[in-house]
Assembly symmetry: C2
Homo-oligomer: 201 residues x 2
Amino acid sequence: MSRRGQPNVSTPERRQVILAAALACFDEFGVAATTVDQIRDQARCSIGSLYHHFGGKEGVASALFIEGISDLNAGLLLRLEACASAEEGVRTVVLHYADWVSRQPQLARFLLHSREIHFAPEAKSELKAIYQRHFGAVFSWFGRFVLRGEMKQLPPETYIPIISGPIEDYARLWLSGRTRTPLAEVAEVFAEAAWNAVRAR
Amino acid sequence: MSRRGQPNVSTPERRQVILAAALACFDEFGVAATTVDQIRDQARCSIGSLYHHFGGKEGVASALFIEGISDLNAGLLLRLEACASAEEGVRTVVLHYADWVSRQPQLARFLLHSREIHFAPEAKSELKAIYQRHFGAVFSWFGRFVLRGEMKQLPPETYIPIISGPIEDYARLWLSGRTRTPLAEVAEVFAEAAWNAVRAR
DNA sequence: ATCACATTAGAATTTAATTCTAGAATATGC
DNA sequence: GCATATTCTAGAATTAAATTCTAATGTGAT
């Protein structure tokens, strides 16, 4: 089934099992506090296997991070393509984020609470490429509305914080259990606030 | 100089030396990657001393976190008391944050990038008390303007993300070196956006 | 069947965190 | 000014975790 020198079929499954086990541990104990052995237990694999596929805890965390970010980004672009106005686009950015976090709270918690990962050089450049591609696409989508004068002209690096910052901040709050009101119930408020902050008037 | 059973004079200095050393290490290597020995080297103290005062790396990180948050909060309240209008208050929240982060980038980086600290129960409840006191004061300051109809009436837990979320998000960006434009240059934009998002219209 | 390589396993090693015991410093009561 | 209670400092000893390494096994290609 596979060519010489290529991974066999079961490999992707094994990787996924390890990633899932790691996410469960990270979520329960925190990235710093989970041990490689805990992941190994949960994934029912050997140390050797884990190190072979990911090179250690950092490697597992990196892979999980990249997988999560990619999924989040891909989903947004898909929904954004279907929007017809600046307002719809801005609202979609906020609402998609709220949806995604509500649906994958564990993964979201991991992405938001883990600025402590030490990516290996390759992971770092892969991430950089992902970000560039994604934000490039998003900016090119919104760009025309700024040109048409439907959105405020602002320093480019301020759009993302202004539009996404609040819902992200609230998501952090909700994910950490410090507020009960579900994202879905307040997402509209943030969508509205984001649009008010960037609409031309 | 000190009473029986009480810490001697040099103790506070020693604690500060250790905290400063830890901050430098955390900033250079990340919290997870710095070892207790690195902190000990930098602080020129013994393991015993470090464990005596803080009980370990987590303890040092907790103390640093509480110290940082307290300083940030105290500064804001001070400036807020001097404000006369809702708009001035909202702008002050944003601008003070920008100022503080610009002035203490290392400490700010530590506060923002360290959601991975496992606080001991006492530290946890101390933090909780600090937050309650602080946000209680801030909400009581702003409350009247909502009542007077000068600010929008919104779900209470959404004000902080809406007002502070964007500048916080941008601060993260700037602190991680992914953008060059200094906070001071864009702070006005965020202050303006925050006010637009919460003003009654 | 046999080869090349990916994969798995777990023992051995290395490295870091934490505990523990003892001694030095400090301020006070007498 | 000496006895004493207590804090503080030091670093060796211990424990726990991360990582490396060697050998064995599985898999598909030829």
